[in-house]
Symmetry: C2
Subunit: 477 residues, 2 copies
Amino acid sequence: MAEFREKEETEEPARLLDPERLSFTRDDPEWEDHLRALLARSDDSELKSFVSDLYTSDIAHFFEKLSFEESDRLFKLLDPEEQGLLLLELDDNIKERFLDHLSHEELATIVGEQQSDTAADILGELDDEQRGRILSRLDPDDRFEVSELLGYPEGTAGSIMAREFVSVLETDTVKKAIANVRRISRETDDIYNVFVVDKAGRYRGHISLRRLILTRPSTRVKKIMEEELLPLPATMDVEEVANSFTRYDFITAPVVDERGVLIGRITADDILEVMQDEASEDFLRMGGVSAEETLKTPVWRAAAVRVLWLTINLATAFLAASIVRFFEDTIEKVVILAALMPIVAGMGGNAASQTMAFTIRNLALGEISKQGSRRVVFREMGIGLINGLSLGIFAGLLVFMLTHHVILSGLISFALFGNMLIAAAIGSSVPILLQKWNIDPAIGSSIFVTTCTDMGGFFFLLGMARLLLPFLLSGIQ
Amino acid sequence: MAEFREKEETEEPARLLDPERLSFTRDDPEWEDHLRALLARSDDSELKSFVSDLYTSDIAHFFEKLSFEESDRLFKLLDPEEQGLLLLELDDNIKERFLDHLSHEELATIVGEQQSDTAADILGELDDEQRGRILSRLDPDDRFEVSELLGYPEGTAGSIMAREFVSVLETDTVKKAIANVRRISRETDDIYNVFVVDKAGRYRGHISLRRLILTRPSTRVKKIMEEELLPLPATMDVEEVANSFTRYDFITAPVVDERGVLIGRITADDILEVMQDEASEDFLRMGGVSAEETLKTPVWRAAAVRVLWLTINLATAFLAASIVRFFEDTIEKVVILAALMPIVAGMGGNAASQTMAFTIRNLALGEISKQGSRRVVFREMGIGLINGLSLGIFAGLLVFMLTHHVILSGLISFALFGNMLIAAAIGSSVPILLQKWNIDPAIGSSIFVTTCTDMGGFFFLLGMARLLLPFLLSGIQ
């Protein structure tokens, strides 16, 4: 007992036991101080044991706080496999510096030690010339595997799968399967399943490692394999892959080519990353921010990217304003319209953003099938009808209370109602159409839709006001 | 070869090999037709083999298309474990119908067959009285485990963990570890790791099943265990748990209590669900939609929930309009202000939505630490300054081209610039403050922020216009 205690106190400080600090481990200044103290020593041995205990992602985090020379010293203490994983975790500018700094020789060693998907990811960071040079230094098997992975378009199952998997024939025994696990183990850590294929290499089923452990070695795999695991086509969109993982609780899934031949596998931890990226992308794009912007993007560069979106918005805002200008004479006579105008436009925008958020998210989750998209538009129009009516009446009542003007109140009721119907129709159909045309609905919908609701709001209110001008004027002091 | 062919054609139709259809399997009308044909027969045997080959999530999908009687007939063909998983996948109204329909006896059998986390989830769907009755029918061990899980507040690691895990002492052998895997296998399918604990039950490290398979049975686990896996405190927020999984590529993670004692584990497939839910929640809430709304929510109910948010927006829109009313005399004299007004307000809103999206997403990803939040606000103000300047000048030029009026152009430049600074300051600090006060930033930020940018836009433009009125009038025809 005393022996365990001691170990705890010396090797692992409060990390494991203090829940408050646990979650912020890497932001804890104590850790950084400790690292700097070790860096101050000329002897690397303790430094090495310190970094080798850290997660790759945390080392990358520290690199942002250290000078390049310090980072490089740490980098050299890692083995090539860890170096490769680390490269992918680094911030873009630090990563580029390392990629420039490392010789082709060193890079080839690093790439050669990786699992195929990581190797492809690292090579994907290089320019064509560098990539060619590194590829030529890899051993032929690795080169073939990695080149193939690089051939899959970004955003497909093929582009995120790993080529390392364990497979056996249906007629093989458990013993053979375990021997295969042993062989592949040299190349990869994350094996959770053995896949079963037919003689043509086509995916037939799978066996969990747990099952392998518990079954007599002489048993034929066909007897214990499970068949329900859906293989994913290599061309499948990663968003759909992620939806399959969530829907069917996969930990690992086989990837097949168009003939059904098993060519790779995807693991849930890859999908977690895909999902987080996709969610960030949609969320940021919906707000008009590039998915590439991080807290480390320099201010001027973030501004330059964001200003593009704002400029388009400015153009559409002037477009909407031109409708107002067209009705300036009406506003001049009934100036309260200037105050009501943004209400109608804004409420249309709000209703549209509800409809858009709902539609875009359900498109992303694969909940809206091709046949079902018309129903979604009708559903939204139904909601728009109900809420347009209730809010239209409510806003009319408010205006009546403020102005005691019946026609004006009726006017805002009508304009709000009309604009909310437009919001529902456009807000649901635009994302669906964009998706159909393979444009990310999160990126294009909001500009188009809010321009419509702005213009719609101004037009309904002011156009109707012009028609009813004599009545409006008669009631206004 | 011929033998495999045959099997393929009869048992598994095009499902495996047609990538186009693979991804839409469950929406394929052929499947539904097949199911209905089987339901038409009085004999259940083929029906049973058909549903037992389906994923739970797909059965739930079919239930939405069938009558309750048909669904119930299918339900009865499943074993209790599958029935429990299915209940959790069902749409709310169908689920409620089944929960009412099943006897306590049946429910207790279903719950008793589940892994602890699923059991707790099912019990979480019941009211207190029903839950008590079912709990009292469970065997004491199960009752204890499940009650404990039910005790963790929603949204914590404890509430999503499972109590089933394999653990061994540091001094145990690989053989013992495998024996423990065998024992736990009766309770759960998803075992990917064996956890190592000290004599007090505190988490010390882990061993992958792969490693167990490849190591001689007499080896002590201490020799082969890995120590780097971070245990998660049971009180940790699930969003943070998800971030740890993504950051550190976990497939499974140990959960510990405040003393570091291992009490459960979380698997990546649970996290996929959490992540998808959190992402949906943020995305929908940002758009003003409840995270609970699905395509199956009845129109009137969706409308009723959405109208709440719209009503708050209507109130704030009237608030902003009151500023316009205050300056009605100015607008009456310079009516073009009515057209420029929504431009300034809208551009502030667009800039704010960029800032908010960026801030809220980075808060959700845990990228903004407590110390770093001030820097984020400064960064956004920097971007706001640059883009406010450039867009302000640009908008001024546009207005000059349209009106040839210098003062008016200067006015819009100034107002746009000021409003974009407000957008940056409010758009970044409001989400950070809400997060600090434990209010979901995605839900509250946008209303508050856009009200500010609307009011700011109107106030800057119209207030300044009133001050400069003589100059404005002198230049306008």
